[in-house]
C-alpha cells in the first residue's frame, strides 16, 4: 500500500495536482527531462563515491559521448520546436489574411449586410419607434430581446463577482476603508474638475440616447467610470455618503425589475402589432419615442451600478 502511495506521490499527476493547489512549482518537480535527471543522479553518485573511497570512478568514454549526443539532440529539438511554432502561427495568420481578401469591401453597396432588412429599418424605423438615433431604436425595440438578456447577464456577472469577492464588514481591512484609499493631491485636484463633467456627459449620453449616439450602455459606462474616479480620488467613505449598499441594492434590483416589466410589455405589443398606450411623441423632441427613454435610463442605472460594484468589490470586497 505504501509503495503505491509513494508511486503516486512521485508521479506527474500528483505533481500537477500540487501545482494546481499552489503547493509547489511544476517546473521544479518533474518538468526536468529524463536524461538531465539521470545526469544529476549520476553526478550525485559520483560525488558519493569520491567521498567514500577517495577513488575517482571509472567512466565509460562511450557513455559520455552518448550523453553529449543526446544533449545536442535535445537542443536541436528545442530550436526546431520554436521554428515550427512560429511557422505554424505564420501559416494561420496567412490563411486568415487570405480569407479577408475575399470579404466584400467595407461599406460597399453590394455587401451582403446591405440588404432589405437594414433598408426597412432605415425607412420605417423612425416612424415606428420615433427615435432619431437608429442604433438605439434597433437595440431597444427590434432587437429588444437581446438587450434584455444582456442586461441580465450583467446582473448575473455582478452576483458571481460578489459571491467570489465579497467580505463581511469586519473582514474589510482598515487601510483600504480608511484614509489610505484617498488619492494624492494631483489626483484629487484633477478629479474635482473632471468628475462633474464626466457625470454630466454620462447623463447627457443616457438621456439623449434616442436622439444622438449613445444610449443606455454607453451612458451607464461613462457614469460608472465617473463614480470610480470619484471614489479613487476621495475614498470610499465619501462615496458612501450618497452611494452605499442600501441605495445600490434598491437601484440595481429596482431598475432591473422595472426594465423587465417595461420590455415585456414592449415586446408583447410589438410582436402582436398592438399599439402601445405610450405615445411616440414628436420625433426629435427630448421626451419622445415612447418607452425607449425610460428603458435607456433604467439600463444606464443598471450598467453604472455594475461598473462601480465591480470596482468596489475588487478594491475592498464590499460596497
Amino acid at each position: 500500500m505504501s509503495k503505491i502511495r509513494s508511486d503516486y506521490e512521485t508521479s506527474r499527476r500528483a505533481a500537477f495536482r500540487r501545482y494546481v493547489s499552489g503547493e509547489e512549482d511544476l517546473k521544479s518537480i518533474d518538468y526536468m527531462p529524463m536524461f538531465e535527471k539521470q545526469i544529476a543522479e549520476e553526478k550525485k553518485e559520483d560525488e558519493r563515491a569520491t567521498e567514500h573511497y577517495l577513488v575517482p570512478p571509472l567512466k565509460d568514454p562511450m557513455e559520455d559521448a552518448k550523453l553529449h549526443a543526446e544533449l545536442l539532440g535535445m537542443k536541436w529539438f528545442r530550436r526546431l520546436y520554436v521554428v515550427m511554432s512560429v511557422a505554424l502561427c505564420l501559416c494561420i495568420i496567412g490563411a486568415m489574411v487570405y480569407n479577408v481578401a475575399f470579404m466584400p469591401a467595407f461599406g460597399g453597396t453590394d455587401a451582403p449586410t446591405n440588404n432589405e432588412v437594414s433598408e426597412r429599418y432605415l425607412e420605417k424605423g423612425q416612424e415606428e419607434t420615433g427615435v432619431v438615433n437608429m442604433v438605439t431604436g434597433l437595440i431597444l425595440q427590434y432587437r429588444g430581446f437581446d438587450t434584455f438578456g444582456e442586461t441580465h447577464v450583467l446582473f448575473i456577472a455582478t452576483i458571481a463577482v460578489m459571491i467570489l469577492l465579497r467580505m463581511g464588514k469586519k473582514e474589510i481591512p482598515e487601510e483600504v476603508d480608511g484614509e489610505e484609499s484617498e488619492g494624492d493631491v494631483i489626483l484629487r485636484t484633477i478629479a474635482r474638475f473632471l468628475v462633474p463633467m464626466i457625470l454630466l456627459f454620462g447623463l447627457y449620453v443616457l438621456v439623449n440616447g434616442h436622439l444622438s449616439p449613445g444610449g443606455g450602455f454607453s451612458g451607464g459606462a461613462v457614469i460608472g467610470a465617473g463614480l470610480i474616479l470619484y471614489s479613487a480620488a476621495f475614498g470610499f467613505t465619501s462615496t458612501a455618503r450618497f452611494f452605499n449598499e442600501k441605495i445600490y441594492d434598491i437601484l440595481k434590483v429596482g431598475s432591473l425589475g422595472l426594465y423587465s416589466l417595461l420590455i415585456i410589455y414592449y415586446l408583447f405589443t410589438g410582436a402582436n402589432g398592438i399599439d402601445s398606450v405610450v405615445p411616440l411623441g414628436k420625433v426629435g423632441a427630448i421626451i419622445s419615442s415612447g418607452l425607449i427613454l425610460p428603458i435607456n435610463v433604467l439600463v444606464g442605472i443598471e450598467v453604472a451600478c455594475t461598473m462601480y460594484a465591480f470596482y468596489a468589490l475588487f478594491r475592498k470586497g464590499g460596497l
Partner: protein, 92 residues
C-alpha cells in the same frame, strides 16, 4: 484623412504586439489602455460613435482600473515598494 487612419491602425498593431510581449504586467496594462483609446478614435473614423463612447469608457477606463485593482489585490504593484522598505528596515 486616410493617412491619419492608416497611422492609427499602424499604432494599434504596434500597441497590440508590444502589449503581448512586454514582460512587466503594469506596462502591459498601460499599453492595452492606449490600445483601447486608439481603437475608440478608429470607431469614430468608421462612423460608429456609439461604440467609440463605450470603448473609451469601458476599454480605456473601467477595464484598466479593474486590472490595476486586481494587481493591487494580489500585491503585484506594492511588492517592489515593500521590498525596498524591508531593505531600509534591515539597514537600520
Amino acid at each position: 484623412m486616410k493617412v491619419i487612419l492608416l497611422l492609427l491602425v499602424l499604432f494599434l498593431i504596434v500597441c497590440a504586439v508590444s502589449a503581448s510581449i512586454t514582460k512587466n504586467v503594469l506596462v502591459s496594462i498601460i499599453i492595452f489602455m492606449s490600445y483601447s483609446l486608439i481603437m475608440s478614435i478608429i470607431w469614430v473614423f468608421l462612423q460608429a460613435p456609439d461604440l467609440a463612447i463605450t470603448e473609451a469608457a469601458v476599454g480605456a477606463g473601467v477595464t484598466t482600473v479593474l486590472f490595476f485593482a486586481t494587481l493591487r489585490r494580489i500585491n503585484a504593484i506594492d511588492a517592489q515598494d515593500k521590498k525596498e522598505e524591508r531593505r531600509e528596515q534591515d539597514k537600520k
